[in-house]
């Protein structure tokens, strides 16, 4: 549904002086109020795309529209976007509250007003008690909350997050990820989140945009992208899929749809990895194709296999998902 605050990219291209193309005519509509993850391997153009939306990178060709207004050449602060940087980029010489109030100071808002506003944002991210500290005195998670508050104080329609969780340890990452989602729901604005972790994207995104080699490979709801990868690249990058080359064409097959059975394709086990809830078993079938099967743990251990064993693998044909390339 189109509402006022959609963000639209129209054939946005970034070409560097050397001729290298970082983003190649990318067009996409980011619906207002949605959590979108730009997902892809490093160097795929996802960060450049984000930085062009933010206005920190010039656009070589194409247009960026926000709320129906062309913002392609506007300075970052006049676009209605705000950016949260990968390393948070907090000003080390300013206290937490002054960091948050920075953009208001630049606008010439008086000290009392801007501090009051900054306090309310610190409350939003649960950092009220740390207002007087310097960034160096905060943990990574706390710094991130401050960076969030600083980005949100400008009342952006779109918040841009550049790999916001990559600097955190795994436990904190999962906690902050829930927090980001909660904030996005509460504020009702769009979050565009760049990441190279598919689990992060699946957990957070209403919509996933998978990028590869400067282009959008596939875009859609998280569940659609995972269950119906359009290309071999998406299937492999999202993980949990086998790409099968059958006489009829190439197909994606979810690893948890592969069964160990009394009948089916003959295979030789090449590896067994215990993963807790599942056992990841790799096996080689004819034609030198490796197949990954995620087998429920209890089921696997009723008749455990080890590398070298001959097994039979089966799957339901209707679960084979055809790939376009």
């Amino acid at each position: 549904m189109r509402t006022g605050h959609d963000l639209e990219l129209a054939a946005v291209t970034k070409r560097y002086a050397g001729g290298a193309v970082a983003v190649d005519a990318v067009s996409h509509l980011f619906p207002a109020g949605s959590y979108v993850c730009l997902l892809g391997p490093s160097g795929c153009g996802k960060s450049s795309t984000l930085r062009m939306i933010a206005g920190h990178e010039t656009v070589t060709a194409g247009n960026i529209l926000l709320s129906g207004k062309d913002v392609t050449t506007l300075p970052p602060a006049r676009r209605g976007t705000a950016m949260m940087f990968q390393n948070y980029a907090l000003f080390p010489h300013l206290s937490v509250i002054d960091n948050v109030a920075f953009s208001l100071k630049m606008k010439g808002v008086d000290t009392d007003t801007r501090r009051k506003r900054a306090s309310s944002l610190l409350e939003l991210v649960d950092m009220t008690a740390y207002g007087d500290r310097l960034p160096a005195q905060l943990s990574g998670g706390q710094q991130q909350r401050v960076a969030l508050a600083r980005a949100l104080i400008t009342d952006p329609q779109v918040l841009l997050l550049d790999e916001p969780l990559s600097a955190l340890d795994p436990f904190l990452r999962i906690r902050m990820r829930a927090e980001l989602k909660r904030l996005q729901r509460e504020l009702g604005i769009s979050f565009i989140h760049v990441t190279h972790g598919q689990d992060e994207a699946l957990a957070l995104a209403d919509q996933i945009v998978v990028m590869n080699k400067a282009r959008i490979e596939q875009a859609g709801a998280a569940r659609d992208v995972f269950n119906a990868p359009a290309t071999e690249f998406v299937a492999r990058f999202m993980g949990g899929h086998n790409v099968l080359a059958l006489p009829r064409g190439r197909f994606a097959l979810r690893a948890d749809a592969v069964r160990l059975g009394p009948e089916g394709t003959e295979a030789v086990v090449t590896g067994v990895e215990y993963q807790g809830a599942h056992v990841a078993m790799t096996a080689r079938i004819t034609g030198d194709q490796e197949i990954l099967a995620l087998i429920p743990e209890a089921q696997f251990f009723t008749d455990p296999k080890s590398p070298g064993n001959a097994v039979r693998l089966a799957w339901d044909d209707h679960l084979l998902h055809p790939l376009t390339q």
Binding site: P76, R78, Q86, A89, L90, F102, R150
Partner: protein, 306 residues
């Protein structure tokens, strides 16, 4: 003795060796041993001479002899003479003006090099360009100003031929102008280097964050770059202020012996073999400079830079 205690000789020797080894390996001792060469050099060549100067400053002197003594007559003469105050004031004036000019120049050059020169090759090349004046000696750099600034020098002749002035400008050479010009020429690099160094450590994403928050280029400069560059500014300021406060040769050459600073006061005393008086002046100068530095260090914490 070891034998009488029932230990075979070699074991006792081994124990002694082990004790020595343990002694040498204790972290405290290692630290002291590592620090001692530098401490020794400093004690011998810095602390000792300063103590000697302080001692000599209390000696008394006549026209033809120096007498070991403990008298305050040198200090009394120094603080009683109006010349002292004039000369100190003049020295402060040189230091302050040179500091202000080198700071503005140094900050601008460093800012340009650090933030506007994108390619690292150019950065290095331009930085080396700044050091060219240092390829030749201090004195030659100073003296080379003389044919340029003199009454019939290049500057005057050019200005006359352009019709800007009718008569040669007298204040170009052998004046405060030429003294400060030489100081700035000599010492700007001492300001550029530490400021450039600090600026290069500023995370570039901070500048983007400032832009993102709507800061203009000037606001970013004042609110982000300047505060983060303070330690470099302070280190550069200490260099320049101490160098100018202690200088005597630049003032002598460039003022044509018409202006004085504390360094020249000391060098004149030494020329007249008035060592105690020179020592007393040196002690007062040292005290003054140390007070200035400690005041500067109070303003800015430079430890992060060291």
């Amino acid at each position: 003795m070891a034998k009488s205690l029932g230990y075979p000789k070699d074991i006792s020797a081994k124990m002694k060796g082990a004790g020595m080894e343990r002694f040498l390996k204790s972290p405290n001792i290692t630290g002291w041993l590592l620090a001692s060469p530098l401490a020794l050099v400093l004690a011998l060549f810095l602390i000792l001479p300063i103590i000697l100067i302080v001692v000599v400053s209390f000696w008394s002197a006549t026209e033809f002899s120096i007498v070991p003594d403990f008298s305050f007559e040198n200090y009394a003469f120094l603080f009683g003479s109006s010349v002292t105050y004039t000369v100190f004031l003049n020295t402060f004036k040189y230091a302050a003006i040179t500091w202000a000019i080198t700071l503005i120049l140094g900050f601008t050059i460093a800012y340009f090099l650090a933030f506007h020169v994108r390619s690292q090759t150019w950065q290095t090349a331009l930085f080396l360009l700044c050091t060219i004046p240092f390829w030749t000696s201090n004195i030659i750099r100073m003296i080379s100003w003389i044919p340029f600034l003199g009454r019939n020098g290049l500057a005057n002749e050019t200005l006359i031929s352009w019709g800007v002035i009718d008569a040669p400008l007298e204040w170009l050479l052998f004046s405060d102008f030429s003294v400060i010009l030489a100081f700035v020429h000599l010492y700007t690099l001492f300001m550029v280097v530490p400021i450039f160094n600090t600026m290069m450590r500023i995370d570039r994403s901070l500048l983007e964050a400032a832009t993102d928050a709507g800061a203009s280029g000037f606001q970013t400069l004042v609110n982000v770059i300047l505060p983060l560059t303070k330690p470099g500014i302070m280190i550069g300021s200490i260099f320049v202020v101490t160098l100018v406060m202690g200088d005597f040769i630049t003032v002598r050459f460039m003022s044509g012996s018409q202006s004085a600073n504390v360094g020249r006061l000391i060098s004149n005393d030494i020329a007249l073999l008035q060592y105690p008086s020179a020592a007393a002046t040196a002690v007062v100068l040292l005290g003054t400079v140390l007070m200035m530095i400690s005041a500067m260090l109070r303003l800015v914490d430079i430890r992060k830079e060291l």
